[in-house]
Subunit: 154 residues, 2 copies
């Protein structure tokens, strides 16, 4: 742990207790160079992200909710729970990498869509239609007809 005062890279733990939240660990550390003390918190990896919905309202990113939407799109389709969990995991990781504090729900939809598309075209179309990823109705119909042609050719 780097000292926040002098940037030195060696510190020692002086005390460790449970944080305010039972799910966090608070440590008191001391820099081995400058001797100053500071506090750190260890927490489970979280994604604190405000999702901007189409109507402009914001709500906290909810992994379970995202998963729910995907499950619905995959009803009676050959997509396993494991597949879905993987899509959620990967999308969440992608969101984490972006490191934004807010994001348009549409962007999240796109992340799921690009993964779902590789797995099952029907699920993908269902999901995309819910997330209204198509600019207008003609785009949607175009996508549908492309899909039905593709299926016939198999």
């Amino acid at each position: 742990m780097i000292c926040p005062f002098c940037e030195h890279r060696k510190t020692r733990v002086v005390d460790k207790r449970e944080g305010n939240d039972v799910k966090t660990i608070r440590r008191r550390r001391e820099c081995l160079k400058c001797g100053r003390r500071f506090t750190t918190f260890e927490k489970i990896e979280t994604l604190d992200l405000l999702v901007i919905k189409k109507d402009g309202r914001r709500e906290i990113f909810d992994r379970a909710k995202l998963r729910g939407g995907i499950i619905k799109s995959c009803e009676k389709r050959p997509v396993s729970a494991g597949d879905i969990e993987k899509i959620v995991d990967e999308s969440e990781a992608e969101l984490r990498k972006i490191n934004a504090s807010e994001i348009l729900s549409k962007k999240i939809g796109e992340m799921v869509i690009k993964r779902l598309k590789k797995l099952d075209e029907i699920s993908y179309i269902r999901f995309a239609s819910v997330y209204r990823q198509f600019a207008d109705l003609s785009d949607f119909e175009k996508e549908l007809s492309k899909l039905s042609k593709g299926l016939k050719n198999k």
Copy 2:
């Protein structure tokens, strides 16, 4: 560290590396009960708080900025750097305890003011006038005359 899956209280560290940010530690932990693994991050205590300014604009809470304002108010007054640091520390701790994501700058002003008042009346008046803690000019004058009477009686 509590297991996020089964809530068990015993986990072991399986791996520990530097986080993306050099200032964080990433640990991979394993629950001793259910065996599932998860990731945690240890970071230096921070205060991520949006300060709502009088004109409605928001900006990230900045400890150095707050300290600067206090220093200005204490110019040529018998208030030590240590005193000021203590006021900043305590106010910051108070803000942390509130645990809000946004706060009116006025509220922060009040926290500083109640501490500064105990230390030095002149500094307090200067600081309060900058933060416009008085509803109108008459309040300000009232405060000033109270103060000057108090000083004469000593």
